[in-house]
């Protein structure tokens, strides 16, 4: 499992600095709090355990390449699609549209 790295030697030094959070990263964090809120009517939409399992299930190359909140987001999309809350294909289409709009706005 690519995530279970305890005790393994890694090349180079582990960067220990902290970068400022991007607005989208804070939104992903906030969304997770809303989705796992036990006081939500009908109970939480998902659990942190599901989030973790989703992250662990990413392809090893994605697990190594993606940033912390990118992994969260991919896992959340996968879970919410499975729960029938979001349509993954529609999400993909909308992301593509936004990318095109941005490309036109800032050529």
């Amino acid at each position: 499992m690519s995530h279970d790295v305890g005790g393994q030697l890694v090349p180079g030094r582990i960067p220990r600095g902290q970068h400022p959070f991007m607005p989208w990263e804070m939104r992903v964090d906030a969304l997770m709090w809303v989705l796992t809120d036990p006081s939500r009517p009908g109970g939480p939409q998902m659990t942190v355990d599901e989030l973790r399992y989703g992250i662990e299930s990413l392809a090893p190359e994605d697990y190594r390449r993606l940033g912390y909140y990118e992994k969260w987001l991919l896992s959340m999309i996968e879970i919410l699609a499975r729960h029938g809350v979001v349509d993954a294909a529609a999400l993909e289409r909308r992301a593509h549209e936004i990318a095109l709009e941005r490309a036109h706005a800032h050529p």
């Binding site: 499992m1 279970d4 305890g6 005790g7 109970g43 998902m46 659990t47 355990d49 599901e50 973790r52 399992y53 662990e56």
Partner: protein
Amino acid sequence: MSARFAPGDSVRVAHRGVAGHVRTPQYIRGRCGVVEQVHGAFRNPEHLAYGIRNGPAVELYRVRFPLQDVWPSADSSLDSLDVDLYEHWLEPVGA
């Protein structure tokens, strides 16, 4: 549900390869340690990971391992490592 182990008990971590979500790191499987603290019973993350929220609660323990046993090259005979482990991962070690 009552805890099978008490502080001071020697335990071995199951040497099990399991697909899917577990909270027992690879490096501690098969190692022997001593129960330091009984945390109480919690819902099993190995169920919660799959959206099963009404499963039975499982006792959770803080188990202490000599660091030298886990990583012989660490050269730290005075250090120890504490790991939180669920009861179904622990086996008794003969006293």
